[in-house]
Amino acid sequence: AQSVTQPDIHITVSEGASLELRCNYSYGATPYLFWYVQSPGQGLQLLLKYFSGDTLVQGIKGFEAEFKRSQSSFNLRKPSVHWSDAAEYFCAVVRGSARQLTFGSGTQLTVLP
């Protein structure tokens, strides 16, 4: 069975600092990976996705993620965090035929002024 692990429940960074959110997956075949962000009281917004090809993918709001097959990881990064980035971030994987997203438990990001 596929699974997604986000080892950090809560991360606090100062505004302007760099950010890395970790995601590890367990999946037998080539994974299709996603990062979503959820602000309080809102739905999920897709930040970026990886299907194949270049292992470094660029997303919206200045985020990027790198797929590392050898480490089964898909970590999200941002070089300089803004206060508006405070939210909860979810990593997800999809199993193609079923099309359902399997989510990690999420990482809550707090940004200090």
Binding site: Q45, R99, Q100
Partner: protein, 116 residues
């Protein structure tokens, strides 16, 4: 272009009652997905509908059911409500499976269901 809409925003019910949640997909999308986001349990897949048919179901009891209408909107029904059904229910839509094996799912703002 309007995004995925859900109604109501909040819903309060008592144990044993039935709840009906509604979702309107993005225009042109034929697939609708339902997810439950419960405290402590994270985001879990509930149901997938496409072209009016149930295509896949998550690990939930049969009292969770739904349907998709000819205009591709969808309803999620939860019968015999239990306290642990309290959660945010998110609906997502995407273009249909014939176009590509997978397309991005766009999420609505959710319906907060509280069971007292």
């Amino acid at each position: 272009e309007a995004g995925v809409t859900q109604s109501p925003t909040h819903l309060i019910k008592t144990r044993g009652q039935q709840a009906t949640l509604r979702c309107s997909p993005i225009s042109g999308h034929t697939s609708v997905y339902w997810y439950q986001q419960a405290l402590g349990l994270g985001l879990q897949f509930l149901l997938w509908y496409d072209e009016g048919e149930e295509r896949n179901r998550g690990n939930f009891p049969p009292r969770f059911s739904g349907r998709q209408f000819p205009n591709y909107s969808s309803e999620l029904n939860v019968n015999a409500l239990e306290l642990e059904d309290s959660a945010l229910y998110l609906c997502a839509s995407s273009s249909g499976p014939r176009e590509r094996w997978y397309n991005e799912q766009f999420f609505g703002p959710g319906t907060r269901l509280t069971v007292l």
